[in-house]
């Protein structure tokens, strides 16, 4: 059999293509003898390893590339033809400027009549692709860490919230006991006092009992807020006389109106309004609306309270000639902890709980609340409550 003549031109071309390919892809190679000593390397080998000028021929593979320490058995398996290749991808090398060089290393068997037997090591600089991969991994890990931190913070907050609820229920219990005694003895005194005691003494006792009731509602407010936050607000509806309820609260607040030298008008619907209510919660609503009207109306101003029936709904209106609100303030006034700028500037006490609780409680009664206001003129809150059957008790 005769060999065909060598096509030198084709061989030259192939050699040139290999060189260009190596340059473009930053690929270098080394021939390793079966005794694991490096026998020959491509001219760019140390440049790709970023160790230019070093001489690696004649050195053991392990000493040049530490990655192969411990891989002796795997390399032997390749030499023996028992394993096709060994690859280490994304091998990091620190560069003097702080960046990383990333290399892919692969080893295959070499069996060539001219080059002999051994291993072919191919080293490819994959820094560009690896840097993108690193950035993606970094972002994913940072996101994951941030998520874990948020979950942890959330757990801490829930723990604190449970503690707060526990503290609140203990505080409420401890406050309620003496308050109940104050109210009970106040009522008893009013009943047993002789008729000839000075009228102002009787009035003082009424104020004491009224203030004890106010404090009771303040406590209710805290409890309601806590139950709303926990999603555990439960209402107990009973058929109630709405006019009577409004009248009682108005009477109770009247002394505050007088103290602030404000005018007060109560205009109740002529016909009785019987609607299903959670009485203590509706007292809370009425107390908060009236208390706000009094607080935000200067001395000499006027408070109007009115009830009527309209389109199958009981309507309550609490209007004042107070400081009023801007449009943006009106938009935020039912939000939790919201306080208007003028309230803060005028140092009017409050924590931004009242109207939030009012809205939640009104809606828990299947009703709605509206507000119209004008800065410097006054505000009008209107509550609409459906007439009709007692709804099924449940969550607000």
């Amino acid at each position: 059999m005769t060999m065909p003549p060598l096509d030198i031109e084709s061989l030259m071309l192939a050699s040139h293509v290999t060189k260009v390919f190596s340059l473009i892809h930053h690929v270098a190679y080394a021939l390793v003898a079966s005794n694991m000593v490096i026998r020959r390397v491509s001219t760019n080998f140390t440049a790709v390893l970023n160790e230019p000028g070093t001489s690696v021929v004649g050195q053991r593979l392990n000493d040049v590339l530490w990655e192969f320490v411990g891989a002796e058995e795997s390399l032997q398996a390749i030499l023996n033809g028992k394993s096709p290749y060994l690859a280490f991808e994304r091998v990091n090398r620190a560069l003097p400027d702080g960046r990383n060089l990333y290399l892919d290393l692969s080893v295959t068997q070499l069996r060539d009549p001219e080059l002999g037997e051994g291993l072919l090591l191919i080293v490819e600089d994959v820094t560009h692709a690896a840097e993108l991969e690193q950035r993606m991994t970094q972002s994913r890990n940072e996101l994951s860490l941030a998520k874990q931190e948020l979950l942890q913070a959330n757990e801490e907050l829930q723990k604190l919230n449970r503690l707060k609820t526990l503290f609140l229920s203990m505080a409420v219990h401890d406050l309620r006991t003496p308050l109940t005694a104050v109210r009970a003895y106040g009522d008893l005194l009013l009943r047993v006092l002789p008729a000839d005691i000075p009228e102002n003494a009787r009035e003082y006792i009424r104020i004491i009992t009224a203030q004890a009731s106010r404090m009771d509602w303040l406590i209710d407010g805290f409890l309601d807020l806590d139950q709303i936050e926990q999603g555990e607000l439960k209402l107990h509806f009973v058929p109630s006389d709405f006019n009577k309820l409004v009248s009682e609260i108005a009477d109770m607040m009247r002394y505050l109106v007088e103290r602030r030298k404000q005018g007060f008008s109560l205009d109740l619907c002529n016909t009785p309004i019987s609607i299903p209510l959670d009485v203590s919660r509706m007292q809370q609503v009425l107390y908060n609306l009236l208390n706000n009207a009094i607080k935000y109306t200067p001395g000499g101003g006027h408070i109007y309270v009115k009830t009527w029936i309209e389109n199958g709904e009981a309507v309550l209106q609490v209007a004042d000639t107070g400081m009023g609100m801007t449009e943006s303030e009106q938009a935020g006034v039912f939000q939790l902890y919201y306080r208007t700028l003028s309230a803060r500037e005028n140092e009017i006490r409050g924590r931004g709980l009242g109207l939030f609780i009012v809205k939640v409680l009104v809606e828990a009664h299947r009703g709605r609340i509206t507000l119209s206001s004008q800065e410097g003129v006054g505000s009008t809150f209107t509550v609409y409550l459906p007439l009709g059957e007692v709804p099924v008790e449940g969550m607000g």
């Binding site: 320490v69 411990g70 994304r90 091998v91 690193q134 991994t137 970094q138 890990n141 994951s144």
Partner: protein, 170 residues
Amino acid sequence: MKVVQRKVCLLGDFAVGKTSLVRRFVEDRFDDKYLSTIGVKVSRKTLQRVDNTLNLMIWDLVGGNEFSRREIGYLVGATGALVVCDLTRLDTLDAVSQYSHQLRTVNPQSVLVFVGNKVDLTEQRVITDEQLQALSDSWNGSYLLTSAKTGEQVEFAFSQLAQKIEEILP
């Protein structure tokens, strides 16, 4: 004096401080900035032992979801590992068992030293000594608390790993 080379790995979930532990041990420095490792970085540290010079080839491997079949292949030839958890993140303790299992599957005789890192963050610590003790008992290993930031116990952790390796591969 005889020179011995041993391959050891740093295993553990992402951001537990594997790279920082190696940097502290090999270069005696610490960088607060978190930089995710991809692939592998091999560092060398020479330890003078009584009978020989031991070159530890320390493989710092990627952790977390990126630890794949490719990385399992990197465990071949490893004689031991520091398996690291972050004392401030409980989930990193679960990952420790997975990594230990993977290493022991590839190298059944490999030495495991468990490391609870970031011990300097005392306020945020959530993993207890009892948990680490139970873990190391179940893998017939031992555990240490380290801080790559302060350097606490870092050298000792690697030294203990080297000593245990010498006991099984004299």
